[in-house]
């Protein structure tokens, strides 16, 4: 990474209480210049409260927020070098598209002249490919068009940090995936630092360079999309991002380059690469993603990491199918099979199958 040494946005020990409830608990984050950062979490996890504190609509109960090295925690929203794109877009219904985009420019202290503002508005509308709609009113636009206008409006004042609140929340599914890439392109071409809030993990993984998973007002994990997916550090993160099988296991053999664990669901031990940071006899969670599990109708010649069960359910999804395999212990294990043959469905309901995975596939979860 070739970033400036000083982060563009720094959140230090920020907490927010509403009455007796703690919405955000001692959050620390630092976000680099030009980065697209996603706050990901379910509803009520505090992500929106955190975003509203960045915008200035809420004042932190404790801690401080720095933008470009300056403490902005107590600065009112209209004086912050931060602009927000609202979930509902919040376009002013009584103004045209051009007037909406010009609104922020007209509020500046050293106001530009009228022709300069008009020129800038046209530039911004061209950037989001809405230059032909400048005179329309917001209620004459489609959802995707409104979003582009809202994006142009929030970029107009060249904010140091751009905030996106559930940016695709108001769009239908098909438009969503198209707009995700388009919005990222625009943000990257402008080079603005961006913090977005979303509950949709796919959206976060598509759009963001880094993701922070939030739960109950706390940050569970921060990392790139693949770090969060492949190396979850807690059961919550593993379960929130994608699908996962988690086995409760006990450490039985501890070596420098591998660890063996016993699990009630398997007849053989589970083996994971490298030693774990826990003593013998301690119980841990072992997470295996469904696509890392291979399914076979022949018993594998392995000493570790395999189990057997009966196919209970198959969800056919076109490109691939999800198989739910019921073990003797009653646990259900999920695995994915690619449908690369049009005619043959090798495995069907009630079949006895063997599932196995490699030593590098499983992730150890300490909490």
């Amino acid at each position: 990474m070739t970033q400036d040494s000083q982060p563009m946005l720094e959140i230090r020990q920020v907490s927010k209480n509403f009455g007796g409830l703690t919405a955000v608990k001692e959050v620390n984050l630092s976000i680099n210049k030009g980065e697209i950062f996603a706050l990901l979490g379910g509803s009520g996890c505090g992500k929106t409260t955190l975003l509203r504190m960045l915008a200035g609509f809420e004042i932190p109960s404790a801690g401080a927020i720095f933008i470009d090295g300056e403490d902005i925690s107590q600065i009112p929203p209209h004086k912050r070098p931060v602009n927000m794109m609202f979930q509902s877009y919040a376009l002013f219904p009584h103004m045209s598209v051009a007037q909406n985009v010009a609104f922020g420019l007209k509020q500046e202290k050293n106001k530009l002249s009228k022709p300069e503002i008009a020129k800038k508005v046209l530039e911004l509308l061209t950037l989001v490919r809405m230059q032909d709609f400048a005179q329309r009113k917001p209620d004459q636009l489609s959802g995707g068009q409104r979003q582009r206008v809202a994006l142009a409006r929030s970029l107009a004042k060249k904010p140091k940090v751009l905030l996106l609140d559930e940016p695709m929340g108001a769009l239908d599914k098909k438009l969503r995936s198209q707009m995700q890439l388009e919005v990222v392109d625009i943000i990257e071409s402008v080079g603005v630092t961006c913090v977005m809030v979303t509950h949709d993990q796919e959206e976060a993984m598509t759009m963001a360079n880094r993701i922070s998973v939030m739960h109950d007002g706390e940050i569970m994990q921060v990392g790139t999309p693949s770090e969060i997916y492949e190396f979850p550090n807690s059961r919550h993160t593993a379960e929130f991002i994608g699908s996962v099988n988690i086995f409760d296991a006990t450490v039985t053999q501890l070596e420098a380059d591998y660890t063996r664990l016993s699990c009630a669901d398997l007849h053989v031990p589970i083996q994971v690469e490298a030693g774990v940071n826990a003593p013998l006899g301690s119980s841990l969670g072992i997470a295996v993603r469904p696509e890392k599990i291979t399914m076979s109708q022949v018993k594998p010649e392995l000493t570790d990491n395999w189990l057997t069960g009966m196919v209970e359910d198959i969800a056919y999804l076109g490109g691939h199918s999800v198989y739910y395999v019921k073990l003797a212990s009653g646990k259900r294990v999920m695995t994915i099979g690619t449908n690369n043959d049009r005619h043959e469905q090798k495995v069907t309901w009630e079949d006895t199958v063997y599932l196995y995975w490699s030593i590098t596939s499983a992730v150890v979860l300490y909490r």
């Binding site: 915008a55 929203p77 209209h78 931060v82 927000m84 609104f103 709609f133 929030s154 107009a156 004042k157």
Partner: protein, 276 residues
């Protein structure tokens, strides 16, 4: 749209409209009555309009009523909007529920009680601080502002509650200080409610007889008071003529407002799609 209304539907509609407008129609017809007796048709004539123009007392009262209604409605819109903003936007504060119910209380208060209490207040104030010195147009105006504010507050606060708060937040976010947010964003969006609040207050003030009777003084007679007292002495067809003029003014006002609103609407729809 474009669906044909059944004949039964048409009958219902006609009956409804007859119920609403027949009395007014009869009033207008009888304003052109030749006869001095209000209920007996004596041929067509416009003489009562002429007589009305010469009746200085009635014209004076009408002018007084319009002045009071205009001022009361305007002040009520300002006060009512201020109250609504505190109620809807300022968050929680101690005694909010009590204030919210108290602001609507004048709506359900019998007018007799409102009138009497205001009269007692004005008398007491005149005795202790010497203001208002006597009862007249000022006291009627104050009384009308009192109850009109309640009506405006109800209309405006419901509109404010419906309005998306993120619009105001967006304006702040884009750099507008709170007072500018109010004038550039909130006010234009709630403007329809202010207009209907003003019209409601204007009508209520113009219409009021009971409260005005309590707080008026010599030389400040409103139109309803004149009409009411002349009815007791025997109805003159002049009043029909006056009522017809008021109906005409009101209809013109409503039609103009509708026409303007429609023109704005069609204008925004027919905007060039951008090749300009």
């Amino acid at each position: 749209m474009g669906k044909k209304v059944s004949s039964l539907g048409k009958t219902y509609l006609t009956l409804g409209f007859i119920f609403l407008y027949l009395p007014i129609l009869i009033l207008i017809i009888f304003s052109f009555n030749e006869s001095k007796l209000v209920t007996v048709w004596g041929g067509f004539s416009t003489k009562w309009y002429g007589e009305l123009l010469n009746d200085k007392q009635m014209l004076g009262a009408a002018w007084m009523s319009f002045k009071i209604a205009f001022l009361a409605a305007s002040s009520a819109v300002v006060l009512g909007t201020m109250a609504s903003i505190v109620m809807v936007r300022m968050g929680k504060f101690k005694g909010k529920a009590a204030f919210a119910s108290m602001i609507t209380a004048p709506l359900v208060m019998p007018e007799v009680i409102t009138g009497l209490s205001l009269l007692l207040l004005f008398v007491a104030m005149a005795q202790t601080i010497g203001w208002p010195a006597g009862r007249g147009m000022l006291t009627i105006l104050i009384a009308h502002v009192t109850f009109c504010t309640a009506f405006v507050a109800v209309v405006v606060s419901s509109r404010l509650r419906e309005m998306d708060v993120s619009l105001e937040e967006a304006a702040r976010d884009l750099g507008a200080p709170p007072w500018k947010v109010f004038f550039l964003v909130t006010l234009p969006i709630i403007a329809p409610a202010l207009v209907s609040g003003w019209l409601l207050a204007f009508t209520l003030s113009l219409d009021d007889l009971v409260i005005a009777s309590f707080v008026s003084g010599p030389g400040s007679t409103t139109l309803p008071m004149v009409v009411y007292s002349s009815v007791r002495l025997g109805l003159s067809p002049k009043i029909n003529a006056l009522a017809t003029i008021i109906v005409l003014l009101a209809t013109t006002g409503v039609l103009t407002a509708w026409w303007l609103a429609r023109r704005v609407e069609t204008q925004s729809v027919n905007l060039p799609t951008g090749d300009s």
